[in-house]
Assembly symmetry: C2
Homo-oligomer: 325 residues x 2
């Protein structure tokens, strides 16, 4: 009888998940902690759920989508300013972008890519927070992914959308805790994920306040403020939320510390990895991938019995517009 | 009839406020923005209210309460370690605290006071976030204010407690945005103010994540990370919340930028100052006070027609245990 009841509920609340051991474990955890009569009950104020974004809520291949945004932005800025174009054609990593030289781009390393992401916001100057949000909003509305041709917001994971909806129904506070830029995610996270701006935690650049002729603005400076990755994730969770999550989802070694931090919560908790196993419907990669590397994390997940979601086996569909399987 | 209705509502929702022009303006704003039929209606997701803490939600004389905590802490740590005591008796600003020499303490300046607040957390070492929270919790339960003899949590402003309750009833998201330490406020802000840890924004120290024999901890380092004052306030609001408030309360020039930022919201909004005018029931100070200086702010409030709450004239009582006037 209980099994039947759970089956029904997975089918109605998580219809894009196959009803199997993994989805049952996840569903059981959510119902247990939100049931006042269960010994695993957790008060709503402590029902904190955190989700990595790239590779956990949407795809991240062949490059982080924010990097693809930065590249589109460099091209657009170069088109609008012959001077900037001439300057950038002499300067890596911009030259690599303008010449579509992915090998040279990769050779610029993490530092080059970060510079690209930061500088490309605005060319050489600073943008106000509102100007930047407008650029992101316009891009996310119109840009297409280079290999699928889909809109980026059509490359979010339908099973995760259902999971976040279920959690909110059960009075969880759902946060995004991503290495991506906080101001890159906020303009569309509410509409796409149902996650309000104040629940988005990410990497950030230095900001400056300026009182321009009586009109206050916040300027984004092309200088890193905080990288929300690895040990930065539990630190950002502490700075922003001030308590440990009871549920955490990630997909790479960059999420390991966030999952450890959640795993050491004295309240009932669940740490979980999304494992990219579906080369046909999405991408298959783990320990050898330069993007979303998952190596230590898989080892530790096995040792600690964390949930490891197998995208190929566990999900009926990946993207919202896919057919069920 | 309308006046009657409003009178009744101020009396029932804000009983510690005198029913006058100031409370009516405040009450009217709150009811207008939360009334779907009013042209000033604002959707719940955008009903962001921010409150400074020291001097806005509780008293701040003769010194910021967190500084009094730090001084108590220096004394307690010195008592528990003769070595530390010997060291500190040779070193300002610790020497001043141990010798109760307020003049020498003041002479150590802002830098000295910040060092005191940071180092006093833990002596010379770092504490984990949990250890620090336990120390704060114990102190706030037992410490008494040096001149009133009251518990510090009995020196919060009853009219502001009522205001925050009313705002939450009206689906506002209520935040504290304080120059005080975020980890100093969070352990008691929920119980005292009804403000959950994730809605407390403050100054912070550098944090480090450490995986101690399989037990992850977050260590507080005695090094400043962010000072949430002046231009830092709108910046922190942007980093943490990602949108402009529609209601902001402060009491000093340190809140001026936060009030400007709110005042430039394209949605209906109200910026407000608490003016300390009651030497008898609390303290009276403004432009010449080294603590909570309010000078530029008063000028700009007059120019921009911000609400200026006069504690003496507008509040029937100051502290929860006072008699009504
Ligand atoms: Ca990821
Ligand atoms: Ca203040």
């Amino acid at each position: 009888l209980l099994a039947c009841k759970d089956q029904t509920s997975i089918a109605s609340s998580l219809p894009s998940w196959h009803d199997n051991e993994n989805s049952q474990r996840l569903f059981q955890f959510i119902t247990d902690v939100s049931n006042t009569n269960n010994k695993l009950y957790v008060a709503p104020k402590d029902r904190i759920a955190v989700f990595d974004n790239d590779g956990t809520l949407w795809s991240e291949q062949p490059a982080y989508f924010q990097l693809l945004f930065a590249m589109d932005r460099v091209r657009a800025l170069a088109e609008s300013s012959p001077e900037l174009k001439a300057q950038w054609l002499e300067q890596q990593p911009y030259k690599a972008v303008l010449e579509n030289d992915m090998k040279a781009l990769a050779a610029s390393g993490e530092k080059g890519l970060i510079e690209l992401v930061m500088a490309s916001h605005t060319g050489n100057d600073s943008a106000t927070s509102e100007e930047y949000a407008a650029v992101v909003t316009q891009w996310i509305k119109t840009a297409k992914h280079p290999s699928t041709g889909k809109a980026y917001t059509d490359m979010v994971f339908q099973p995760m959308l259902e999971l976040m909806s279920l959690l909110r129904e059960k009075d969880f506070k759902v946060y995004i805790v991503s290495g991506g830029g906080v101001d890159f995610m906020r303009p569309w996270a509410e509409q796409v994920y149902g996650v309000a701006p104040e629940n988005v935690i990410g990497s950030s650049v230095k900001l400056e306040y300026e009182y321009r002729n009586g009109n206050p603005v916040i300027l984004r400076r092309p200088k890193l403020n905080f990288i929300n990755d690895k040990a930065g994730k539990p630190i950002a969770i502490h700075q922003h939320i001030g308590k440990r999550p009871i549920l955490a989802f990630g997909n790479s070694d960059g999420d390991l510390q966030m999952l450890q931090w959640t795993d050491a919560n004295s309240l009932p908790h669940l740490s979980a990895y999304i494992h990219h196993t579906d080369a046909e419907r999405e991408w298959a990669y783990d320990q050898d991938s330069p993007i979303g590397q998952l190596k230590q994390g898989l080892t530790q997940a096995a040792e600690k019995n964390w949930l490891v979601v197998d995208m190929k086996k566990d999900w009926r569909k990946i993207y919202p517009n896919d057919q069920n399987q």
